[in-house]
């Protein structure tokens, strides 16, 4: 969510009202923005500084109150004080929504932009332009103008990749303007960053300079957008003055100053729709300061082919004002209110969707969507705004009346019931991360690195892969609880998912190439290995899931009453088989266990021919213990749960 910082007093002056903090907070809440923080430049500087600043050092920063306001990500028209105060004034009924107007002027060279289609198509194909005539800048307005461009670049323009804005003092340049892409060595100019020294760069050298120069580090992130392209986009005037090297920097010559009155705006883009939204936003916000407020002059953009033939042209800014309609009953039904068509018309004026009219015998509401409201895509967007104007907290609540039956996923049920039972058996439940390092997931467990779902942009080394086993999480928990008492054994368990590569697994007619697998994992660490204890947990889990031991497996065990009362599923049996811990190519987990002290659990199911291996258990190899910095002998089990459903 973008955050707008505005000076409170300037905002209140512009609103023509003043509020207590609580009152303003309340207004924001109703309007749908959020007063996130109240601060000042001085307070921010104090917070940002690593060392404590003296009173004198702090006194250079202004202590006037700044409101930081969170703005919804689709409301680009609220990203500057002009737009925010305008929208609030309209919401409060203090102002009628302005009518934005593209003034028709006789076409001249100053209102022409010629695009060399063949070259720009390779890198940044589109440009849209507009002219603000007779504007009056002040320091505050100028600052806001720059900050709005920054906000748009950050958000809608996606760090200038989609759209980049260039603004120029039109009286310093001469039309018709040209938009081309040229070899970087053929672009030579004084960039805005070097206005003071008037140093000339060629484009390649300039980008290299921005990559390394600490003073220009704010431009560094944009360098890769064009750096490796054979041709760089460039905007020029008819005298070959470089106006901008989009999306990086403007030329110094056309620099805007407080004395500038006529502003030429160009937005170069890879996305034409977004370019128009950006241009309309800038124009609607700052045409407020034109001699005739809310007017703008158009520019004809002509695309020419290699032989200078015009292939297409359009006029910008679009200042796209359109009518959208929504049925009165739809709006009432969607929001869950019952207001009259006339009331809706009134509310539309509060939310910049006026003037609204009623059609079809007052059953259809037709609203005017101004260029500032690019977020309106559908009648639901109109309904939402009417809902906001009505007040969400005034809506009468109700509940859906269709009866439905609650139910749970069988795998979740099994997991939850087993969790209770395993906890009853003395194990402490843990909840560990699904993301893991390759080292912890494989190497530290003495397993060879096999395929796992790996991340392309891990935040840190801990997050290289999605775990394929729950064991590392439990072992790391043991490591972190080393000061606990192990005298009577330390028992942990977790039931959760691992993810395995699988290019056959289909969910919702979709194959992504991986599947989740639910596991139960338990560990025992104590003065002795606890192998029998973990073995006992295996038997317990099988008893709980109604699987009986094979006759051969228990022939040496004393048959207690348990065997007599055992309840099992028809045809479900299990047995265990010693794991060949020397065979590195055998079971994936072989190397994790102490030689000769590990077993595999084999399940027989009706309708499944072969016994399936559903997991392993055993004493952990001492090297594994060393890798996880565990001081006590430890045994572990990990079983697949889905096959026990």
């Amino acid at each position: 969510m973008p955050t707008l910082a505005v000076e409170r007093d300037a905002l209140f002056t512009s609103l023509g009202r003043s509020y207590t903090r609580e009152e303003f907070d309340e207004l924001c809440f109703e309007f749908g923005v959020e007063l996130d923080d109240v601060t000042s430049e001085r307070e921010e500087a104090d917070k940002a500084s690593a060392t404590k600043l003296s009173k004198k050092q702090l006194s250079v920063f202004s202590d006037s109150v700044i409101y930081k306001i969170d703005v919804p990500a689709n409301r680009y028209d609220l990203l500057c004080i002009e737009g925010l105060s305008r929208a609030i004034k309209i919401f409060l009924g203090d102002l009628d929504a302005p009518q934005y107007q593209v003034v028709q002027v006789p076409e001249s060279d100053m209102e022409r932009m010629v695009v060399q289609q063949s070259t720009t198509a390779t890198i940044r194909p589109f440009v849209v332009c507009a002219i603000l005539r007779d504007v009056t800048f002040t320091q505050e307005r100028y600052q806001s103008f720059i900050e709005l461009q920054d906000q748009l670049h950050r958000n809608l323009c996606r760090q200038r990749t989609l759209v980049a804005i260039g603004t120029h003092d039109m009286d310093t340049v001469q039309g018709p303007f040209k938009y081309e892409a040229r070899a970087p060595s053929h672009i030579n100019f004084v960039p805005l960053t070097h206005s003071a020294t008037q140093q000339t760069f060629d484009a390649k050298a300039l980008l290299e300079h921005y990559e390394t120069e600490p003073a220009c580090k704010h431009l560094k992130p944009y360098v890769p957008i064009i750096k490796d392209s054979p041709l760089y986009p460039v905007v020029l005037d008819s005298n070959e003055t470089v106006m901008s090297l989009p999306p990086i920097i403007n030329g110094s010559k056309s620099k805007i100053t407080l004395d500038t009155t006529n502003v030429f705006i160009e937005c170069t883009a890879t996305d034409l729709t977004k370019a128009n939204i950006v241009l309309d936003t800038v124009v609607t916000m700052f045409s407020e300061y034109a001699a005739k407020p809310f007017t703008v002059e158009p520019v004809r953009v002509e695309f020419v082919d290699a032989s200078s033939q015009i292939t297409k042209s359009y006029i910008t800014p679009q200042m796209y004002t359109r009518n959208e309609s929504a049925s009165v009953s739809f709006v009432n039904s969607l929001i869950g209110i019952n207001i009259t068509a006339q009331k809706m018309v009134e509310l539309c004026n509060k939310i910049q969707l006026g003037p609204a009219t009623l059609l079809d015998n007052d059953t259809m509401l037709q609203v005017t969507v101004p260029p500032t409201r690019s977020d309106i895509l559908h009648a639901v967007d109109i309904a939402e705004d009417i809902g906001i104007a009505f007040g969400y907290n005034n809506i009468v609540k109700r509940v859906p009346t269709t009866a439905t039956v609650g139910s749970e996923q069988p795998l979740a049920t099994l997991g939850d019931l087993l969790r209770e039972e395993i906890a009853r058996a003395g194990y402490i439940e843990v909840l560990t991360h699904g993301l893991c390092s390759i080292h912890d997931n494989f190497t530290a467990l003495r397993r060879s690195i096999t395929s796992a779902v790996s991340l392309s942009n891990p935040a840190n080394a801990e997050y290289q892969v999605v775990r394929t086993t729950l064991l590392p999480g439990l072992l790391k928990t043991l490591q972190h609880n080393r000061s606990a008492s192990f005298a009577n054994g330390f028992k942990l368990f977790e039931i959760s998912d691992v993810v395995l590569p699988d290019d056959k697994h289909v969910v919702t007619e979709t194959i992504v190439g991986a599947r989740n697998s639910r596991k139960v994992c338990g560990v025992y660490a104590g003065p002795t290995s606890g192998f029998e204890i973990i073995h006992g947990l295996v038997d317990r889990i099988m008893t709980l899931t109604e699987v009986q031991p094979e006759e051969e497996y228990i022939k040496n065990s004393a048959k207690g009453l348990e065997e007599q009362y055992r309840v099992s599923r028809e045809g479900w049996y299990y047995t265990i088989r010693a794991l060949d811990t020397d065979d590195v190519n055998g079971h994936a987990s072989s190397g994790t266990y102490f030689p000769g002290r590990a077993a595999e659990v084999l399940l027989t199911k009706p309708g499944v021919e072969e016994k399936m291996s559903i997991g392993t258990f055993g004493i952990l190899h001492p090297e594994v213990l060393t890798n996880f910095d565990i001081q006590y002998p430890t045994s572990a089990l990990e079983l697949d749960l889905e096959c026990l459903l």
């Binding site: 969607l334 906001i388 109700r398 039956v405 979740a412 909840l431 699904g434 999480g473 992504v512 991986a514």
Partner: protein
């Protein structure tokens, strides 16, 4: 031995009700008992009120090993003087003096004191006596003799200045001894009758429990730890939330799918491909397997059309929808990726759409900066209702029902923006534990651009809300840092002490 001591104590007090052991220390010595053992017996007897003991604290001085030497051979200074006197007018060199008085320390200290008292003087490299030894009394030795005779109790025997000087010379030091004076207690008997601490099987078998006196029980200590296992606090809350949602008629969704295609995670929700949430800054993309293998093609085409050109009353986003972008695999950023699949299935099931309520509580992944309240993975609670002609009022009512069940009764709704819901509302609640208003969830009605390509009937609307599981758990269990809740750094003691998860005992 213990029994013999106990018996001796009780016997000592036997002759008369006011019989007393004035001080256990000399008493122990005179009876040849170890004093510590006597103290142990006194304490044991006083617990059962056989005796009553008053603590005594005795301070006295003891002589150091060096002081013993002074007692035997005289003080350092006198020993040095004697040697010098014997040597006569020629005096002694340091080396000779040292060998005569027997030791470097004695020589050094003694010499210093002799010079101070003006008993001797330096003459070149020699030391020479100034007057006859016969005239000197060994004051230090005399003082130490007094200390010894008084058993270290020096009140009135030496003055403070003298005591301090001896202390400074490390010849004496003060020690404090704890001992007791003992008289009869209220339950005094001349012979101790053994009392049992606990009822045993042997007592039951022999019937001894009928006559056996029992020790009084100390009720002011905690009971034994119960042992057994423990469930994780977050998963206790999960279990309770599941129960609540099922009570509300919600069906659990199969969310065991962490790896997802961008198509289901974003595109199917009508989230444009240029949306910032799709940046690597926010989402974990997958290196291997990097791309989705297949998606439902007809539906894919309808989604693409909706993004590019709109439809169902929408103008769409008007950009080029890229298949590669949709096929990028990622770790799901929300469980809504599954909700979307459930709605698609609901629209396309045999017999067509039926109203439904779905919920899930499962893990999601965000490539976020981690801090005390954010981890790269967390649990999302999500509920949705699909039915004909639902309204924002239904959403508000449903949300209120849910939050009321977890103890939050006062709610407010703030207009908000989510890419795939319209209208959208942030949920604020007055939290009875925090005692303030706070954001507790997000909600909205899925956009028609999302529902139409699935093939849901036009007047079917879907209301949904979501929240994290971690935040209510942290509030409930008073956990400040999310790492103390989720992951391998959790203290087991926290899990052991976590109470059962109830929401019906919260007073608003």
């Amino acid at each position: 031995m213990t029994e013999a001591i106990e018996e001796a104590i009780l016997q000592h007090l036997a002759p008369a009700p006011d019989a007393t052991i004035e001080d256990t220390f000399p008493w122990a010595a005179s009876n040849n008992f170890d004093h510590n053992a006597v103290v142990g017996s006194v304490k044991s007897l006083s617990v059962e009120a056989y005796v009553s003991a008053t603590e005594l604290s005795t301070s006295f001085y003891t002589l150091s090993k060096e002081a013993q030497g002074v007692l035997q051979h005289g003080s350092h200074e006198v020993r040095v003087l004697r040697a010098l006197v014997q040597a006569g007018q020629d005096g002694l060199t340091m080396a000779d003096l040292q060998s005569q008085v027997g030791g470097k320390d004695v020589c050094k200290i003694g010499m210093g004191n002799c010079m101070k008292h003006k008993w001797a003087k330096k003459d070149g490299d020699k030391l020479v006596a100034l007057l006859g030894v016969k005239d000197v009394t060994d004051e230090t030795q005399g003082q130490l003799q007094k200390v010894q005779e008084a058993n270290g109790v020096l009140n009135g025997i030496l003055n403070d200045k003298e005591i301090n000087l001896l202390k400074r010379r490390k010849l004496i030091s003060l020690v404090t001894r704890k001992s007791y004076s003992v008289v009869r207690g209220k339950d005094y008997m001349p012979k101790r009758v053994k009392k049992a601490a606990d009822l045993t099987k042997e007592m039951l078998d022999s019937g001894e429990w009928k006559t056996m006196p029992f020790k009084p029980y100390n009720f002011l200590t905690l009971g034994e730890k119960v042992g057994g296992g423990y469930l994780h606090p977050l998963l206790k809350v999960r279990a309770e939330f599941r129960k609540i949602l099922m009570q509300m008629g919600f069906q659990e969704m199969p969310t065991n799918k962490w790896v997802e295609s961008s198509f289901w995670n974003f595109d199917s929700l009508f989230q444009p491909q240029s949306h910032p949430a799709r940046d690597a800054h926010d989402t974990f993309f997958i290196k291997e397997p990097a791309s989705t293998v297949s998606v439902p093609e007809d539906y894919f085409q309808r989604v693409k059309d909706m993004h590019e050109r709109g439809g169902a009353g929408s103008i769409g986003y008007r950009y080029d929808f890229k298949r590669e972008e949709a096929f990028k695999n990622l770790l799901r950023t929300h469980t809504t990726a599954i909700s979307s699949q459930m709605l698609y299935k609901l629209a396309n099931q045999p017999g067509g759409f039926q109203p439904a309520r779905y919920f899930s509580i499962d893990r999601v992944f965000r490539n976020e900066t981690m801090d005390a309240t954010h981890l790269c993975e967390f649990h999302q609670v999500e509920g949705l209702v699909a039915d004909y002609d639902l309204s924002l009022g239904d959403l508000i009512g449903t949300i209120e029902t849910f939050f009321k069940k977890i103890g939050i009764t006062q709610l407010r709704f703030k207009p908000a923006f989510n890419p795939y819901t319209e209208p959208s509302m942030e949920i604020f609640g007055y939290h009875p534990d925090l005692k303030k208003w706070t954001e507790i969830g997000n909600s909205g009605m899925f956009r028609p651009e999302m529902l139409a390509p699935m093939g849901l009937p036009e007047n079917v609307r879907v209301i949904a809300w979501g929240l994290s599981l971690e935040r209510p758990t942290m509030i409930k269990y008073r956990i400040k840092n999310i790492r103390d809740l989720f992951g391998h750094k959790v203290e087991m003691a926290r899990t052991r002490t976590a109470p059962i998860c109830r929401f019906d005992n919260v007073t608003a």
